[in-house]
Amino acid sequence: MSQQHDVYYVPSKSQWPIVAAVVMFLTVFGAAHWLNAEPGDTGFGKTVITIGAIGVLCMFFGWFRSVIKESLAGNYNHQVDTSFRMGMMWFIFSEVMFFGAFFGALFYIRNFSVPWLGGEGHGVLTHQFLYEAYSGAWGTAGGNGPLHVGGAFNTVVPWGLPLLNTLILLTSSVTVTIAHHALRAGHRGRILLFLGLTVLLGATFLYCQAHEYMEAYKELNLTLHSGVYGSTFFMLTGFHGLHVTLGTIMLAVIWCRVLKGHFNKEHHFAFEAVAWYWHFVDVVWLGLFLFVYIL
């Protein structure tokens, strides 16, 4: 069937939405069960979450496979392309707001809750009656709160691995842009080279991050339990790391699709969507580097 442009396109029925709903349910049901498991539990939750997680992977593979097929068959016209673009942009906006919640928590804790516990402003009575010895300093000097939750710890020095990671992510943003320009110019070799470099840089970032976490746990005694400093540090960098992981996988998939010749100069929305996502995790990292590591 020939695809006419500027005529509405409604996709055919698909089993993937219901599959997605089922596997998502299994994943979170298993996770909730697992979290509440008592010692000596049967491991039911673990089994369910494993089935669910594998199901989610299969679902993504299957759903994207059918979308790619339809795209290669030329079914998607300009209007569908615009809908996809809007979808991706608003999805990234929702991700920005998700990180916003955690950055907001960090700012609140640093500017209000910790100083108040230290006796500033309107926390003076709490301080006097409950936590008189607590200075309300951030980081090593008492970021784990008046009860020293998690014990004494040292913080990660920003000018080592975190700085290197900053440079890695900034470089990867440049390489992905070069790859995009190469795509528009039609230089396949150059796309594969620079996109491949981007994937490698993403993987290197993750390696460094894992190394940093291990060092924090083993040598610095900085853990998720280290009061609010540990909470904000690991939750912010952890969710960011999760997004870099997703981004790296997405870039790798795009690399394979370039290899298979799925894109041309005009039609490469998937490439652009992943590139936007990559720039987004890059920008979040800059915020992390500044507010979590340096300040």
Binding site: V10, F29, A32, G87, A105, L117, G227, G230
Partner: protein, 539 residues
């Protein structure tokens, strides 16, 4: 009707309703079917949440702990709110949006139909997850729908509820993305933004609010989850955190959320009143700008839910004035609805009755909101039944009445038959009388100091509680009439509906046959200004 190449080659039956129950309803990519699924789901949740409310009112019928254990009572208040907000009101609006937005803007379907189906199908699973906690050892969540720590962290059901909320959030975000993409990208040529029906405008702005705040709720409940299960200290002062931090993050979501539940209602009322007043809406642009202003203000008023936690004085004052500012655009809307009716040749079919009741009763809820906005007054009213009365006036006689009005308004378009006007009116009059018997005395209870979320109370509050409970039972029973009218209209009604249905109806949705065929506007319609409800006057 010409059939263009709107479907790919897998779909060879695109101008018939597709065969097979599973294919049609579970694998759907059709905005009307998915809209119907949303609406049916929401009706089911309305009755489940309503049955929880009946338990609450039965326990409160007279002083003393007579029927249920206090812990179970707390589960009922918590679940009633979660089910009604996330299961009844929000899916109902999404269902109405799904059905009507493509029809109103001349689009063949939603922009991303498969994602639309996923948005719906997540919901039954999310609510199964959440409601299943009621049957588990330890019971369901009992710390209130706001889930304030440290109370909420004491229940093992927390993980289930948090994950259920994550699922609902994913569903809402995808639904909202879909609606924005549909409105911005799928309008028929000539359907300029400022010619769109107010309902479409209200959904565009609501969708923006959803995308902006549902992730914040996800973040807040994720912090609860890690505080309980992974040893973080976000809300633990011993570790440098602060339970009030949760309230800030939660209400940064929560306040826009209450407008998510009322802005589409504003849109619905702005469609119904002009139809039955047979006049274009008064001040179309002002209505649109008012919705946008309310949405903007919703981001800077969240702490008015927290006046009693001990905020710094400057914060109290800022949030008090910001909150009162919302009365201005809301006042514009109420004024314009009244001005639309002024001098109109009005008739009072059931949708119009609900719309007029909305304008009056929502305004009462708005005024009690203004009272609560005043910091010194709020210190007295905080967490009393006055608050309960306030938000039920805006949510039941506001959001729920608008949804019922919308159902009567568009039911003939959906089913092709007229509902029973007599039983519709019976439903309306029972609802409007009993809802006031139910909630109005709660104002007095609250002013007299009765706290909310309490299963037992001082005998001084006995009379008003009994009146309120009687109103509650009768209001609950009245909704069975609603169910009857809807089921009758969908399956048994004989009287055919015309395409236009209502004499004064304007807009593209009334140009298609009743019932609306499975696929509409496969070829973009020619938009003629005189067909439109709005935007063609020089206001």
């Amino acid at each position: 009707m010409a059939h263009e190449a709107t479907h790919d080659h897998h779909d060879d039956h695109h101008h018939h309703a597709p065969q097979g129950f599973f294919q049609r309803w579970v694998m759907s990519t059709n905005h009307k079917d998915i809209g119907t699924l949303y609406l049916v789901f929401s009706l089911l949740m309305f009755f489940i949440g309503g049955s929880f409310a009946m338990v609450i009112r039965a326990e409160l019928f007279k002083p003393g702990l007579d029927l249920v254990q206090p812990y179970f009572f707390n589960q009922m208040t918590t679940m009633h709110a979660l089910v009604m907000i996330f299961g009844a009101i929000m899916p109902a609006f999404v269902g109405l949006g799904n059905w009507m937005i493509p029809l109103m803007i001349g689009a063949p379907d939603m922009a991303l139909p498969r994602m639309n189906n996923l948005s719906f199908w997540i919901l039954p699973f999310a609510f199964t997850l959440m409601l299943s906690t009621l049957f588990m050892a330890g019971g369901g969540p009992a710390g209130g729908w706001t889930m304030y720590p440290p109370l909420s962290l004491q229940s093992d059901s927390l993980a289930y509820v948090v994950f259920a909320i994550h699922l609902m959030g994913i569903s809402s975000i995808m639904g909202a993305i879909n609606i924005i993409a549909t409105i911005l990208n799928m309008r028929a040529p000539g359907m300029d933004l400022l010619k769109m029906p107010v309902f479409v405008w209200s959904w565009l702005i609501t969708a923006f609010l959803l995308i902006a705040v549902m992730p914040v709720l996800a973040g807040a409940v994720t912090m609860l989850l890690t505080d309980k299960y992974f040893g973080t200290s976000f809300f633990n002062p011993g570790g440098g955190g602060d339970p009030v931090l949760y309230q800030h993050v939660f209400w940064f979501f929560g306040h826009p959320e209450v407008y998510i539940m009322i802005l589409p209602a504003f849109g619905i009322i702005s469609e119904i009143i002009p139809t039955f007043a047979r006049k274009p809406i008064f001040g179309y642009r002002a209505m649109v700008y008012a919705i946008a202003s309310i949405a903007f203000l919703s981001f800077i008023v969240w702490a008015h839910h927290m006046f009693a936690v001990g905020l710094p004085l400057g914060a109290d004052i800022f949030f008090m004035y910001a909150t009162m500012l919302i009365a201005v655009p809301t006042g514009v809307k109420v004024f314009n609805w009244v001005a639309t009716m002024w001098g109109g040749s009005m008739t009072f079919e059931t949708p119009m009755l609900f719309a007029i009741a909305f304008v009056i009763l929502f305004t009462i809820g708005g005024f009690s909101g203004l009272m609560l906005a005043m910091v010194p007054a709020d210190f007295q009213y905080h967490d009393t039944y006055f608050v309960v009365a306030h938000f039920h006036y805006v949510l039941v006689t506001g959001a729920a009445f608008a949804i019922m009005g919308a159902t009567y308004f568009w039911l003939p378009k959906w089913t092709g038959h007229m509902y029973s006007e007599f039983w519709g009116k019976v439903h309306f009059w029972c609802s409007v009388v009993f809802v006031n018997v139910l909630f109005f005395p709660q104002h007095f209870l609250g002013l007299a100091g009765m706290p909310r979320r309490i299963p037992d109370y001082n005998v001084a509050f006995a009379n008003f509680n009994m009146i309120s409970s009687i109103g509650g039972f009768l209001f609950g029973a009245s909704q069975l009439i609603f169910l009857g009218v809807v089921v009758h209209c969908a399956f048994f009604a004989k009287k055919k509906a015309t395409d236009r249905v209502w004499e004064g109806a304007k807009g593209l949705e009334w140009t298609v046959p009743s019932p609306a065929p499975h696929h509409t506007f496969e070829v973009p319609p020619v938009v003629r200004d005189e067909e439109l409800a709005h935007g063609h006057t020089d206001d």
